[in-house]
């Protein structure tokens, strides 16, 4: 029975319940819906929001090093604190926050396997108290570029034919889900995927109770069926980099991939930028631009009126 590459990276709800008041441990909730934390959270847990806490309000980027240090200090997180992330949606956002903490070099990060769902299923208590912890001082490192891919690097990676994963839904990957009326802020101009990217929708990493699938199942999917190599450089992307941070976590810590990066710009950047290669359809190399132009010319009515 294979084990996860780093089994200690996951903690159970039982472990968390036993460490609620451990001063060396800080529990952090990150959700898609912030009101969930308000409705009830793990006792003593602080909230870190992916948008209002971790993203720069002006520039499209993460908060800078100084802001990250302030955030940790305010939440009572010291450099040697064990930070346990959990959240809704099978820990999407928890993995995203985990990834940002790794970006700034926080050593001891864990994920509570199963997140909010498993905590509830296990019948553990929810708290609505306002949580504050004694302030710390925190010194972060510079951003760790080894886990973050920027656009030009993704382009070089794609041209070199290296391992590339698109973790969005099949409809998004094929370029079908594009029509977004009344939704000017979030869409991409073009639909499709990066040529060569293999589609492995993120839910394939998770069980129904929000926990990660077993090492055996994950190995079967990524290593045996998709023939991915642990040593080959790998990049994962989605729409805004959140779902792909979950896949990044799975590859890096549960399967032991040596060099895997999250492309946080993801489709929201790629599908809007000029001259980025795009293909459509179910195959990694999709439909070529020439064929597509021909079929578009014949197509009536137009797909996007």
């Amino acid at each position: 029975m294979p084990e996860y590459a780093q089994p200690d990276i996951l903690v159970s709800t039982e472990w968390v319940a036993e460490h609620l008041t451990d001063p060396r441990v800080r529990i952090v909730e990150s959700d898609e819906d912030r009101a969930l934390y308000v409705q009830g959270h793990v006792p003593g847990a602080v909230e870190i929001d992916w948008q209002t806490d971790l993203q720069d309000p002006l520039q499209r980027d993460y908060i800078d090093r100084a802001a990250f240090e302030r955030l940790c200090a305010e939440r009572g997180i010291a450099k040697d604190t064990t930070v346990v992330f959990y959240g809704d949606k099978s820990n999407w956002w928890a993995c995203y926050a985990f990834w940002v903490f790794k970006l700034y070099g926080h050593a001891d990060c864990r994920i509570m396997n199963g997140g909010r769902k498993r905590w509830g299923l296990d019948g553990r208590p929810w708290s609505t108290e306002r949580v504050t912890h004694p302030r710390t001082t925190y010194a972060a490192t510079e951003q760790d570029g080894s886990i973050r891919a920027l656009r030009d690097e993704v382009l070089r990676h794609q041209k070199a034919g290296r391992q590339l994963l698109d973790v969005r839904s099949p409809e998004e990957y094929r370029g079908e889900r594009m029509h977004m009326p009344d939704y000017p802020n979030e869409g991409a101009v073009r639909g499709g995927h990066v040529p060569g990217a293999v589609n492995v929708p993120w839910p394939m990493n998770c069980n129904d109770d929000g926990t990660f699938r077993s090492a055996k199942e994950l190995e079967k999917l990524y290593i045996r069926e998709l023939k991915m190599k642990r040593r080959s450089p790998t990049i994962a992307y989605c729409r805004i980099g959140e779902r792909s941070s979950l896949t990044w976590f799975v590859l890096r810590y549960l399967l032991g991939f040596g060099n895997v990066k999250n492309y946080d710009g993801s489709w929201l950047e790629w599908g809007n930028a000029v001259r980025m290669p795009i293909v459509r359809g179910p195959e990694p190399h999709g439909t070529s631009a020439a064929t597509r132009a021909a079929s578009d010319a014949c197509a009536t009515p137009p797909v996007h009126a």
Binding site: E32, R34, Q39, Q51, T52, K89, N185, E186
Partner: protein
């Protein structure tokens, strides 16, 4: 902060006879929104989210007869990550009613839909079709939720407005 006193799970939908309290309120959509904006305005981020949760708890459960319609009618707001189904309707007495189903794991969305439902309940559909675009700004929710999340909420307003506008046109 004035907590809204509603029971968990919300008020039951009453067919037509006994209208929910806000439907008997003679105030128009704008005035009702102004009142709700006032409730949100001075709260801190945490309190705003708490008030949204209160609104969410007040959204009635989806009537059983609508459950089956989810599968066959185009009622889902596709711009939202979480499942949101909306039925902007006109009740026989002539007023607007927003029936909605929002997944429990999305209390923010649920609370916001409850705000819209309260704003339009019992008003003429033509007036319900004038829901303004700046509700989130005026409630101070943009800063609390961030840009990515408010996009989905804006598309809900647009969808509701469009639904009532269609009803108003068919009535004319």
């Amino acid at each position: 902060m004035r907590r809204r006193l509603v029971s968990e799970g919300g008020r039951p939908w009453t067919a037509d006879a006994a209208m929910p309290e806000e439907s008997r309120d003679s105030a128009g959509v704008r005035v009702r929104l102004d009142r709700m904006v006032e409730e949100f305005a001075d709260l801190d981020a945490r309190e705003k989210l708490e008030l949204l949760v209160d609104f969410a708890n007040g959204l009635p459960a989806l009537p059983a007869e609508y459950e089956a319609r989810k599968a066959v009618e185009d009622r889902r707001v596709h711009e939202c990550q979480t499942p949101v189904f909306l039925w902007p309707e006109m009740i026989p007495a002539g007023g607007a009613r927003l029936v909605a189903d929002v997944a429990p794991e999305a209390p923010t969305v649920k609370g916001f839909v409850a705000v819209l439902a309260e704003a339009v309940a019992g008003r003429p559909v033509g007036e319900a079709a004038t829901l303004p675009d700046d509700i989130l700004e005026r409630m101070g929710l943009v800063e609390v939720l961030g840009m990515m999340r408010t996009g989905g909420l804006r598309s809900i307003v647009a969808r509701v407005r469009r639904g009532f506008a269609e009803l108003a046109r068919s009535q004319a």
